[in-house]
């Protein structure tokens, strides 16, 4: 479980997140939603410690990240898998080498085992026959999926995925969503998915966190989301016509 306590983040004078309190549970898909620029990626980066929160703290299974020493942080990070919004694959390494990278750095396996593990991760994200290509030679959607494969290579206890669906077609999108759900249940991962794709929310979210005007504006389950009468939340989720039809079908307003 990851717990965020009174977390605020400012860049200079500009405050991006204000007093966020949230618990992300183990074995659950936690989805963070919110408008573009609302601070979702910043929240994820504060949680994993890539950005230092201006105030507040983050607890991993009860242990405060801010109080850990450098060695402890490094060990914890070997249990974290993260997909960046920009994929952040290493340009100079091939697809296969990218996925093998964390294994080469930390795992105690033979090279053959590493290759096999990396291969099976790639297969799970439906990337096959691209092993020897470089990131620049595959499409953006494929880069995303390779990024996911790299994030899960070490079988992380904490999985962060920043917009796994952007740039993917609806079918692949569903495959990726389901993969995230599966992995979360299979390895009992604490998963945090950042998205503004409502299909993904309706498909796999166990718990939803809505960020709005710097705050954690609303949180709850999928059912609660559809029934909520929170004005800003409704404006966000029912912005698309598909979701409006869902609401009508449910007999809503």
């Amino acid at each position: 479980m990851i717990e965020v306590r009174q977390l605020s983040k400012s860049f200079g004078e500009v405050e991006v997140l204000h007093d966020i309190n949230a618990q992300f549970h183990k074995g659950k898909v936690n989805q963070v939603i919110g408008k573009s620029g609302s601070g979702k990626s910043v929240l994820a980066k504060c949680i994993v410690g890539l950005l230092a929160p201006t105030s507040g703290e983050v607890l991993y299974s009860g242990e405060s990240f801010q109080q850990m020493d450098k060695e402890r942080k490094k060990l914890l990070r070997q249990e974290i898998g993260m997909l960046f919004q920009s994929s952040a694959l290493f340009d100079s390494l091939t697809v296969l080498e990218n996925v093998m990278f964390p294994l080469r750095m930390f795992a105690t396996m033979s090279p053959a085992e590493m290759r096999e593990r990396a291969g099976s991760c790639l297969k799970r994200v439906r990337i096959e026959g691209q092993d020897q290509k470089y990131p620049a030679e595959i499409s953006g959607g494929m880069q995303k999926r390779v990024g996911i494969a790299r994030a899960i290579a070490m079988q992380p206890k904490y999985l962060f995925v920043d917009e796994p669906n952007s740039g993917l077609d609806p079918q692949t999108s569903i495959v990726i969503d389901e993969l995230i759900k599966e992995l979360t249940e299979e390895f009992d991962t604490t998963t945090l998915v950042i998205t503004h794709d409502m299909n993904s929310v309706m498909g796999i979210a166990d718990h939803i966190f809505f960020i709005h005007s710097k705050r954690l504006w609303w949180q709850g389950t999928r059912d609660e989301l559809l029934r909520s009468d929170n004005q800003e939340l409704q404006e966000f989720i029912f912005a698309g016509s598909l979701m409006r039809q869902v609401r009508q079908a449910m007999g809503g307003r």
């Binding site: 993260m82 960046f84 920009s86 290493f90 340009d91 750095m105």
Partner: protein
């Protein structure tokens, strides 16, 4: 931001760079790749510059101090001394700072702006060490070879120019090159080269590592890397010359 800030942060970065590697084998493989990329690929430019440098020194020496009072061996001697003492270690290092330094800063800088350094950090990899240490070791190993090749080619270039323009005979030139040779000057040159190599790799690594922003800033970092490497090399050169030769 102040100079002191940069100096402080530079030494803190070095602390990270020299902390224990996660996996020696991975670092070593990177070092070998960097030796090829930063060293072997610089061979062409080093060779070209050195040949012409030696040739020009030979002709300059001959034409500027042409007098019956000057002994026959002075051309070979001058080429050898100036090449080994300054031209090869210092000038070639300055040139390498331009070529290698900008490559290092651009590579690390673009990894920074594309979040690839964040990706390393999040895996628990010591990103500063992983990215910069192999480059330091690679340049510190390979640059001395480049400089030795440069010394040889400069002296050879002087010979070519001297003999083909007919200003000096081959035997006189070679006698000059061999005249009063103290091997310590080569040691001195190689010590300087290693120091300069470390300066190039760390100063450029520093500028790349702390790039903020986008592709424009990567370009700026890369320019700064070259300028600051050059300045630090010149200062270090003065200090080392005083320390080692006086």
């Amino acid at each position: 931001m102040g100079l002191l800030f940069h100096i402080g942060r530079y030494f803190m970065l070095l602390g990270e760079v020299f902390s224990k590697p996660e996996r020696r084998s991975v670092y070593w493989r990177r070092t070998v790749e960097e030796m090829d990329l930063l060293g072997v690929k610089s061979l062409g430019i080093v060779a070209l510059l050195s040949l012409f440098m030696g040739a020009v020194i030979a002709i300059q020496t001959k034409t500027n101090i042409d007098s019956p009072l000057i002994p026959f061996y002075v051309v070979g001697f001058t080429v050898r001394q100036s090449t080994i003492l300054e031209f090869s270690p210092t000038i070639i290092s300055l040139i390498l700072a331009g070529k290698v330094g900008s490559t290092i800063a651009a590579e690390i800088g673009s990894m920074r702006v594309k979040e690839q350094i964040d990706a390393l950090d999040i895996m628990g990899v010591n990103s500063a060490g992983y990215l910069i240490l192999p480059k330091i070791i690679a340049t510190a190993i390979i640059n001395p070879f480049l400089i030795m090749i440069s010394m040889f080619l400069s002296i050879f270039g002087g010979w070519l120019a001297g003999v083909f323009t007919g200003i000096i005979s081959s035997s006189n030139y070679i006698a000059g090159v061999q005249w009063d040779f103290d091997p310590y000057i080569v040691t001195y040159a190689l010590i300087k080269t290693v120091v300069f190599a470390v300066i190039i790799a760390t100063v450029s690594g520093y500028h790349g590592y702390y790039t903020r922003g986008g592709t424009r800033e990567v370009g700026i970092s890369s320019t700064k890397a070259v300028v600051y490497s050059d300045v630090v090399i010149l200062i270090a050169n003065y200090l080392l010359t005083q320390l080692l030769l006086l």
